[in-house]
């Protein structure tokens, strides 16, 4: 059926966004008032559950979706002599597009401004009549959406395998190196982490590449715990 892949990608992305809502409602909202550590652990258990569900429902085998779909991933020559695959270009394009859209949403739309307010201080935001529950659910949905997008692109470009979730830990490193509360910091953060990883494969031990994102993170936490572009926290006062 022509157009089926596009349709299924759209379905996957929308379903992930919806499941973000459901996860917030069922799992994260009951954790309000508990230590943040417990909430973080709930997300870890969520990862375990989802992975088990995927293996139970689908398969635990490694797949390569593109040949199965009969699609090709031809290499493209870039000016300057670099050669990248089509899906590499697509990934970069989608990432840039998503980042711009997210930036515009958070800066310009009323909902985005409310979301930033709720993120900064939920209590004050609620007192100004902002429905922060809805906004937290929305941010979960957005995260689900972006995660599904990343998963589709990565699976098509590299491989589909149930342990893809480990990528999320790398994303943690990127977000923290760039600065947790800075959207613009994601770009330099991602570039630094990726560059160190690629260079350590090229010039060092390939096994070192597994840990290089975390070495970056460690270095950043020792020098600037708030990240490259994050806001420096003030001391907590009574």
């Amino acid at each position: 059926m022509p157009g089926a892949p596009a349709l299924s990608v759209a379905a996957a992305v929308v379903l992930s966004a919806l499941s973000g809502f459901v996860i917030y409602r069922l799992l994260m909202r009951p954790m309000a008032g508990h230590p943040i550590f417990a909430a973080v652990l709930v997300t870890v258990t969520l990862g375990i559950l989802l992975r088990a569900a995927i293996v139970l429902v689908y398969t635990d085998r490694i797949r390569h979706p593109l040949p199965l779909l009969g699609l090709a991933n031809p290499p493209r020559r870039l000016p300057g002599g670099a050669v990248v695959s089509t899906f590499d270009l697509l990934t970069v394009g989608v990432a840039a597009l998503f980042l711009v859209a997210l930036f515009a949403f958070l800066r310009l739309s009323p909902l985005g401004i409310q979301m930033r307010a709720a993120g900064e201080k939920a209590l004050l935001a609620a007192q100004r009549g902002i429905n922060f529950q809805l906004l937290f659910a929305l941010s979960w949905a957005l995260a689900g959406f972006a995660g599904a997008l990343a998963g589709v692109l990565y699976a098509n470009n590299v491989r589909l395998d149930p342990s893809l979730g480990v990528l999320g830990l790398k994303a943690f490193a990127v977000a923290l190196v760039g600065g947790l509360d800075s959207l613009g910091g994601v770009i330099p953060g991602a570039l630094i982490v990726a560059a160190v990883e690629v260079l350590s494969v090229r010039y060092g031990d390939p096994l070192l590449a597994d840990v290089s994102p975390f070495l970056c993170l460690l270095a950043m936490l020792l020098v600037r715990p708030w990240g490259l572009f994050g806001t420096k926290e003030e001391l907590e006062r009574v």
Binding site: P35, I36, V44, V166, V211
Partner: protein, 354 residues
């Protein structure tokens, strides 16, 4: 602790006693006797299960010192277990004169040093939750990378530990040794909690600013918690290496760290009894699922679903405990105990008798 039925502590000695009531003395003696007699009564399989529980309990108690007492997060304890295990393996390979003693002391001390360094960034003070948690997994992965880049991903520990002329070998010997070590670590953990450091840790866990304002050196005690915890975890790793007689980097993944966190959460954060209960629960859960599947006589091909089902049950239980029973198994145990000690009344008096 306010107990129900007219039990008051009237002397300082009574307040300091580890085992305070006659009922507790009797049950503890019964438990010790049962553990001593178990090898005569139980099959080697059961003995091995108890041994595994004891080994897990050492690690869980160590993590509980950090997370339960001091309220600090570590998703990297698998790294410390790996460090202890690999140090032991290397020492055994180089034929140190007394591997048992060497392994017991050295990784503990060495890892304690690393714990100090690692926790430096976190102990500096105001690192909030998510960043904190993000900092932790790197440790597991880093240790893994280091042991991989040493060029050997796995090592055999072929000589059993010996102390003088006594050689630790066989299921029963391992059972006694590991149960004794677990009991020692349990006593250590209970005593640590009652000590000055333990009370400082709990104050920091409950409210950092308040702790600092009553004169607790927050950074120092946080580092101390990391040192104790990672040192003891490395001891668990060293024992693991001897018990399995084989160490491999695959065994020390991110999942192992999650497993230990699950133990202290399911058991009940901040309680030594909880850590032991949680260790037993998490260790025995896969065997329980195996037995259930065998009892149901599931159709062929069930083996394929067994592993993900175990994995999923584990995640589900952890989520259920986190959301619905944050006090863990110990919370359930306390409710049951209170029900009995207050019976036939339903509530404890509003004002505890002083």
């Amino acid at each position: 602790m306010a107990l129900g039925g007219g039990y008051f502590k009237t002397t300082y000695d009574g307040d300091l006693a580890l085992v305070d009531t006659r009922l507790r003395r009797v049950t503890l003696a019964a438990l010790v006797a049962a553990l001593l007699l178990l090898p005569r009564l139980a099959s080697p399989f059961v003995l091995d299960l108890v041994t595994q529980v004891a080994l897990a309990a050492v690690g869980a108690l160590a993590l509980n010192i950090l997370t339960g007492f001091a309220g600090q997060v570590s998703l990297g304890h698998a790294g410390f277990i790996a460090a202890g295990a690999f140090t032991t393996a290397v020492l055994v390979e180089h034929r140190l004169p007394s591997p048992l003693l060497a392994a017991r002391r050295r990784p503990g001390r060495r890892r304690a040093g690393r714990g100090r360094r690692d926790s430096g960034a976190q102990a500096q003070g105001a690192l909030p939750g998510p960043r904190h948690a993000g900092a932790a997994p790197r440790r597991a992965l880093r240790v893994r990378g280091v042991s991989e880049s040493l060029g050997r991903e796995h090592r055999g520990v072929d000589s059993p530990p010996r102390l003088g002329t006594w050689v630790l070998k066989g299921t029963t010997a391992w059972y006694y040794a590991l149960t004794a070590v677990a009991a020692l670590v349990l006593i250590l953990s209970v005593n640590l909690q009652r000590s000055r450091a333990g009370r400082a840790w709990m104050a920091i866990r409950d409210r950092e600013i308040a702790a600092e304002s009553v004169g607790i050196d927050v950074a120092r005690y946080k580092v101390l918690a990391f040192v104790w915890s990672s040192g003891l975890t490395a001891v668990a790793g060293a024992l693991f290496a001897y018990h399995r007689a084989f160490v491999s980097v695959e065994a020390f993944g991110f999942f192992l760290a999650i497993e230990y966190i699950a133990m202290i959460i399911i058991g009940g954060l901040g309680s030594s009894l909880g850590a032991v209960l949680g260790a037993a629960f998490v260790t025995l859960l896969p065997y329980g699922i195996d037995a259930a599947v065998a009892g149901l006589r599931a159709p062929g091909g069930a083996e394929y679903y067994l592993f993900p089902a175990k994995f999923g049950a584990f995640g589900l239980l952890m989520a259920v405990f986190l959301v619905f029973e944050p006090q863990g198994l110990v919370g359930i145990w306390r409710r049951i105990r209170n029900w009995f000690s207050l019976w036939p009344l339903r509530y404890r008096p509003l004002r505890p008798a002083s």
